[in-house]
Structure formats: structure tokens, C-alpha cells
Amino acid sequence: MIRFTNVTKSYGRGTTALMDVSLFIAKGEFVFFSGASGAGKSTLLRHVYMDERPTAGEVRVGGYRSIEVSRRDVAKLRRKLGIVFQDFRLLEDRTAEANIAFALEVIGTPRSKIRDRVARALHQVGLSTKGTSMPGELSGGERQRVAIARAIVNDPFVLVADEPTGNLDDRASRGVFELLAEINARGTAVLMATHDLELIRRADFRTIELADGRVIHDSAGDGESLPLVENS
């Protein structure tokens, strides 16, 4: 479903963010990406939603290949993905409902369907009663839940979460993680970058560790190493 083949990403002035990364993520998997700041986690995730293209190698997500996608294809791909950030990225001048509805409106979803789908997404993240609240009236955890609701309202096959708990306290972090795990249990693959080693240890999901742009460890939740590239 997601395949990185010998992906290298270099920027000018000799900076290399990813170095010869190869990995495969199957449908419905939950994968943690761990590593120190600057290890390449966010860069790797940006390749998944094709905000970045490899300098060398290839990324395949669903039926889309990084070497041939157009900007229009990237837009189509993102309609099938959900993306969540540490800083929430909500529109501060719209209610929670409007923020979620926005994701459906801009891809041309009929207005008759938007209301129900927004209500369902809010229910899924446990914020049914907060739909009319402005982001400024919500706690950090609640804001992240709204961002997650916006990410899942379109029933994505992958949810990309870049440090979603980075700005939250322990309790809110746990709540957000549990929500992501529930979403995963319903069949959506979740790719989550995090610094939180305690969370990784408790969760028992596959973890891919990066350092200096390289994959230095890839393990299944039970501790067994997984092949970096699927043998298929």
C-alpha cells in the first residue's frame, strides 16, 4: 500500500534528510516513526502525502507513484489520506464543525451530505457537543480531536499524524493516541511520528526508528524484526 524504494531526499547546501530509505507499510497497519529531532520523521511523512518528492528512489502510495504524479494527482491522493499535525492547523475563525466541513466542501462534496458526515466525525472523536465551539474555546486535546475529525471525515485509507501529541499533556496525549488506535482498529492505517518512547513501549505497534535520515530499526510490536521491503 505504501512503499519507499531506496528513497533519498537531499536539499541544497549538502543537507540530506533521508538516505536510501526502503520500507513497506501494509493496509491497516499502525506504525510509529521515532527518532530524535531532525532524524527525518517529518520528511518521511511528507513524502507519504507527496508534499515532498524524493531526490532519488521512488515512493508509491495507493496507486500513485512519486516519479509521475502531477499536482492534480497529489490533490486526488490527499482526498484519500488524512493528515494531522502537532500544531492542529485549524482555521481559528470557524467553528469546529465548519473546520471539519471545510475539508469536504473544498473537494466538492454535496452540501446535503456534509452535515451528516461532520456530525459522524465529531461523534467518532467524542466531541458531539462541541461542534459549535470556536477553536479558541477548546483545550489542546480537543483541538487535536477536531483536527483528527477533519482528517477522518473523508474516510481515508491512511491517517498521517506528525507528532500529534507533541503539544499535549500526558492525559490529552493518551486520549489522542487511544483515538488514533480506535481509528486504526476500524481499518485505517495510521502512520504516527512521535518522540514519546513511553507511548511506543505501551502500545505494542510496529516501530520504525530513524537517525540521520536512515532507518536504523524496524520492528513489529512483538519485537520481531520485519523485512524493510516486502518480499513480493
Partner: protein, 281 residues
């Protein structure tokens, strides 16, 4: 979500910014409008002077009526000629007296010869064409001499050429400044909505979808700014006419073209601004 709805949402969220954009565009176009007004009136003044370009063919003293009629017919047949009038010696004297006012008594009867007053059609009043027409008139047997104020005509055309060149350079400069100001003003709108654009891209909106409300925004602001500029130019025209010198205003077709140009500038500025922004994100 239609582009129109997004446009109104944008206007409602940032009314001051929208107003500022419209006023900025209006003043940029007002400068162009004022320049246009000056150019139009200089052009008209020159055209009025140009209308006075007249060729006078003096007839031989002993020219018969038949020769006069033949000369008039020949000159009238020239494609450059609009009108030919015969002036008898008495009529010439009367006209000279009228033109000289208080010095009218210096002339006596019979002093001036009979002549043909020839007016040329617009487009044939430049020095070269007039000189060619004069050469042909000189070849007519009944014509003794031809005068047309050559030096004056050449100076007029020099002035016209200088005015046209200065007008072109100034006009292009004003238009370029207007384009830059309008571009900067629309860019502010794009930057103010950068978070929305980023989220639109993130959730899969196409570039075309993101661009549409901004194009409409630029079009509407250009049109509103153009209308305001036209109103300001109209008031400037009224004030100049009242306090300085009577001036002409643009005809309705030119005014409409100005409005459309404003709308088009807004549209283009938006297209460039949002296009540049989208390429960066």
C-alpha cells in the same frame, strides 16, 4: 462550496483589507485616469489646431472663370481634399480685414488676388502629405502660387510627436505602477488567507479550485476599484473645468473600456499572486 460564496466569506472576514484593496486599486487607476484625461485633452487641442491646416492656392491675375472652375474641379477630385472654396479678391480683402481687427484699414481694395481655400481630410494633414498635395496644386495652370504655413505645420507635428511619445512613456509607466500596486494589494489578500490555502491543499483541493475565489476576488476588486477611479476622474474633470480650463471627458465606450481594464488587471494580478503562492506551497 462555490467561488462566489468563498468570495463573500473572504470579504466578510476581512472587510477592512478588502476596502483597502479596492481603494488602493482605485487610486492606482485614478492616476492612470487623470493621465488619460490630460492626454485626451491635449490630443483634442492638437486636433483642433490641426483642423486649421489650410492650403491656399492663389490664382493667376488673368485667370478666366472656366480656368477657375477647372482648377476647383481638379483640386476637389484629390482624395486628400475635404473642401475647396473660392475666394474672390473682394472676399479675400474682407476676410483679411476680419482677421486683422483693429488694423483692418491698412488694406485697400484690389490688393489681394483671387484664391482657392483648400481644407484637407483628417489623416492627410501631416507635413509630408500636405507638401505632396501642394506640389500637385502648383502644377495646375491657373495657379500662380500656393501657401500653407509650412514652418507652423512642421512645428505642430513636432509638438504632436513629442506629446505622443511622452504620452506613451508616461502612460506605460502609470499602467506599470498600477499593475504593481494592484498585484501587491491582491497579494495581501492571498497572504491573509494563506492558512486556508494550506489547509485546502492538505485536504485535496485542486489548484483550480483554490484559485477560483481569488480570481473572482481580483475581478470584483478591479471592477469596484475601476468604478471608484472613474468617479474620482469625473470629479477631477468637473473641478478642472470649473476652476482651471474647460476639459473634455472620456466617451462612454472609453469609460467602459477603462472599467474592463480595471477588472482585467485585478484578475491578472490575482492569477499571478495566487499562482506564485501555490507554486511555493
Amino acid at each position: 462550496m462555490s467561488a462566489t460564496r468563498e468570495l463573500f466569506i473572504g470579504l466578510r472576514r476581512a472587510p477592512l483589507l478588502s476596502l483597502l484593496s479596492v481603494v488602493t486599486i482605485a487610486f492606482a487607476l485614478f492616476a492612470v485616469g487623470l493621465f488619460g484625461l490630460v492626454a485626451l485633452n491635449i490630443q483634442r487641442a492638437l486636433a483642433q489646431v490641426e483642423e486649421r491646416v489650410e492650403v491656399r492656392a492663389f490664382l493667376l491675375d488673368g485667370a478666366t472663370d472656366d480656368e477657375r472652375v477647372a482648377a476647383m474641379a481638379a483640386v476637389s477630385a484629390y482624395p486628400e481634399v475635404a473642401q475647396v472654396d473660392y475666394l474672390s479678391p473682394d472676399q479675400a480683402l474682407e476676410k483679411a480685414r476680419q482677421e486683422l481687427g483693429e488694423f483692418s484699414d491698412v488694406f485697400e481694395s484690389g490688393f489681394l488676388p483671387a484664391s482657392l481655400e483648400i481644407r484637407l481630410k483628417p489623416g492627410f494633414r501631416d507635413p509630408n502629405t500636405v507638401a505632396l498635395v501642394v506640389t500637385r496644386i502648383r502644377a495646375i495652370p491657373a495657379v500662380e502660387d500656393v501657401r500653407y504655413g509650412r514652418d507652423w505645420l512642421e512645428k505642430l507635428y513636432d509638438l504632436r510627436n513629442v506629446a505622443a511619445a511622452a504620452g506613451l512613456v508616461l502612460g506605460l509607466t502609470f499602467a506599470a505602477v498600477a499593475v504593481i500596486i494592484i498585484g501587491a494589494s491582491i497579494r495581501m489578500t492571498v497572504l491573509a488567507r494563506a492558512p486556508e490555502i494550506a489547509i485546502m491543499r492538505l485536504v485535496g483541493a485542486t489548484d483550480g479550485y483554490i484559485r477560483r475565489p481569488f480570481l473572482l476576488d481580483g475581478l470584483v476588486k478591479g471592477l469596484l476599484g475601476g468604478t471608484l477611479a472613474l468617479v474620482l476622474t469625473w470629479f477631477a474633470h468637473l473641478a478642472i473645468t470649473r476652476y482651471v480650463i474647460p476639459t473634455a471627458f472620456f466617451d462612454s465606450r472609453t469609460a467602459l473600456l477603462g472599467l474592463l481594464a480595471g477588472a482585467l488587471l485585478g484578475l491578472m494580478a490575482s492569477s499571478v499572486s495566487v499562482g506564485r503562492h501555490l507554486r511555493r506551497i
